[in-house]
């Protein structure tokens, strides 16, 4: 649910009009959108991702604008997490959204949720960039945000993401935080650095078997913690 603990938050004069957001699997959620820490009233439901992609297929630049506003912060954040470089991460953002624009049909709703597909495209593109840089500069991995410092709450959560996606993010972050640090680290090295199990073992100095076990246990715990989120249509976004 939206964070209303802001001390500057002033209750509305009247009960807020709920913004109806279509849920991930066609279900409708009544949530109240918060923008800039204050509740606002929206008169129209946000268009689902699928609808925006269909409009992009027809060449509507306004649809791209909406998708950008909805997801650019997330795409940038994931890219930045992989690359640790603001300019490179922005390049990835640009490439990802231009790819959407050039070929919106590359997203097939039958194969999964838009947010999952978008995150997959973003991660792959960012990892490609990271590998290119690594080959060129042979730079060492820089883990600017050690996993043990993973915050449990975003101070800069983007209201454009929508309350539902923010709620999903919170659930995932809490689940990740609850993992033992060693298990969380192997998952993050695999996901954000694109390392194989062998490479993770080399980097951490742990035996390969230990890495494999940590991957299995970490994923199992994550799965258990997020079962409700997943079956509820995890990943956020408007479908």
């Amino acid at each position: 649910m939206p964070d209303t603990s802001n001390p500057d938050h002033r209750p509305p004069e009247r009960a807020p009009i709920p913004l109806v957001v279509r849920g991930i699997r066609g279900r409708l959620h009544d949530v109240t959108q918060t923008v800039g820490g204050e509740r606002t009233r929206a008169s129209e439901p946000a268009p689902p991702d699928d609808e925006l992609m269909a409009r992009m297929e027809r060449g509507e630049i306004a649809a791209l604008e909406q998708v950008y506003d909805r997801y650019s912060a997330l795409v940038f954040s994931v890219s930045y997490r992989v690359l640790s470089d603001r300019h490179l991460a922005e390049d990835v953002v640009q490439e990802v959204f231009l790819r959407l624009w050039r070929r919106p049909s590359s997203y097939d709703p039958l194969r999964g949720r838009f947010i999952s597909w978008l995150m997959s495209v973003t991660r792959n593109r960012a990892l490609d960039e990271q590998r290119r840089i690594t080959r060129r500069r042979r730079v060492e991995y820089r883990d600017e945000e050690p996993t043990y410092q993973l915050p449990t709450h975003d101070v800069a959560d983007d209201p454009q993401l929508g309350a539902e996606l923010a709620e999903r993010r919170q659930a995932v972050r809490e689940a990740m935080t609850r993992l033992p640090p060693a298990q969380r680290r192997v998952l993050e090295l695999a996901y954000f650095s694109g390392l194989t199990q062998v490479e993770i073992a080399e980097r951490t100095g742990d035996p390969l078997g230990t890495v494999k076990t940590r991957v299995r246990l970490g994923m199992r715990k994550l799965r258990e913690a997020l079962t409700e989120v997943m079956s509820d249509g995890a990943g956020g976004g408007y479908q």
């Binding site: 060449g59 630049i61 791209l64 604008e65 950008y68 650019s72 912060a73 997330l74 940038f76 954040s77 994931v78 997490r81 922005e90 953002v93 640009q94 959204f97 231009l98 790819r99 624009w101 050039r102 070929r103 590359s106 999964g112 947010i115 995150m119 997959s120 792959n124 490609d128 960039e129 590998r131 290119r132 080959r135 945000e145 993973l150 915050p151 975003d154 800069a156 983007d158 999903r168 993010r169 995932v172 972050r173 990740m176 998952l187 993050e188 695999a190 996901y191 694109g194 390392l195 494999k212 076990t213 991957v215 299995r216 994923m219 994550l222 799965r223 997020l226 989120v229 997943m230 990943g235």
Partner: protein, 280 residues
């Protein structure tokens, strides 16, 4: 395989941390085991959720306008380019062939039965384009655009090979399966013994850095691997390539590998797509 071992493999596969041989084992497992395939789908969903754990950051607000401006420019360029092409007959013919190639490529994603019905039309179009090339051969237009004519002739030759593969009643067809490294990519492999050629159509291949290529490896029944060609997909990850190597007659599996080394004797780089060739 114990349940723990299976879980370990599926989870690692979804994360993309397996070596190519282990990944191939998982792909073999999920192709025959519906429960494993369902488990893997859940792990993929779980892996995609990990992205949501990142602390939120904001990009430069000016980036929004840069992206939208670039999108507008691309739309405009597409609209402006079309009339110029239409004015140039040879270029238009080439565009027709390329469009045909694209349509054909897309049709490969349909069913094999669809391919049969489309093959006759494709053959007719190839013949029409060949006649058009003959007509153009003596014209001033082609003389002025000799390079374009050569390009068109090459495209037509390729189309003839493609048509020969496609119209072969005994053509063998198999879908490519994406590995963890090629999540979202796909394609089809067709082999015609009569045409002595095979065709690969791939789509949504991950972008590769400048200078890198995709390399096609063929594995025969003795598990020997042979690199048969390299290619670079277009800007949106699509590719259509023709294989004429004698090795294709012995192929049992096809691998498409992203690599920075296009002359190595060993597979270097992640396998992105793979297909198992069924033999009748």
């Amino acid at each position: 395989m114990t349940p723990d071992e299976r879980e370990e493999l599926l989870a690692a596969y979804a994360l993309g941390t397996l070596s190519a041989p282990d990944a191939a084992d998982v792909e073999s497992l999920v192709s025959t085991n519906a429960a494993a395939a369902a488990d893997l789908a859940r792990y993929h969903e779980l892996v995609d959720l990990i992205a949501l754990s990142v602390p939120m950051r904001r990009a430069d607000p000016r980036l929004r306008e840069r992206v939208l401006d670039a999108a507008r420019r691309e739309s405009l360029a597409r609209r402006v380019r079309r009339p110029r092409l239409a004015r140039l007959l040879p270029a238009a013919a080439l565009a027709a062939v390329l469009a045909l190639t694209f349509v054909w490529g897309m049709s490969l994603r349909a069913t094999v039965s669809d391919l049969r019905s489309e093959s006759a039309a494709l053959t007719a179009l190839v013949e029409a384009n060949a006649k058009r090339l003959d007509t153009l051969d003596g014209s001033q237009n082609v003389q002025e655009s000799r390079a374009l004519g050569v390009q068109l002739a090459t495209a037509l030759q390729d189309q003839q090979v493609i048509a020969a593969v496609q119209t072969d009643p005994n053509v063998r067809s198999t879908d490519f399966e994406p590995t963890a490294s090629g999540h979202g990519a796909g394609g089809r492999y067709l082999w015609s013994e009569a045409a002595d050629a095979a065709v690969i159509v791939a789509h949504d291949l991950p972008q590769i850095p400048f200078g890198n290529v995709y390399r096609v490896w063929i594995e025969d029944s003795l598990s020997r691997l042979t690199a048969v060609m390299t290619f670079v997909p277009d800007g949106i990850g699509n590719a259509q390539v023709i294989l004429r190597s004698p090795v294709i007659a012995e192929a049992t599996r096809i691998f498409i590998v992203a690599t920075s080394n296009d002359d190595s004797d060993t597979v270097e780089g992640p396998v992105v797509l793979q297909a198992t060739v069924r033999r009748g």
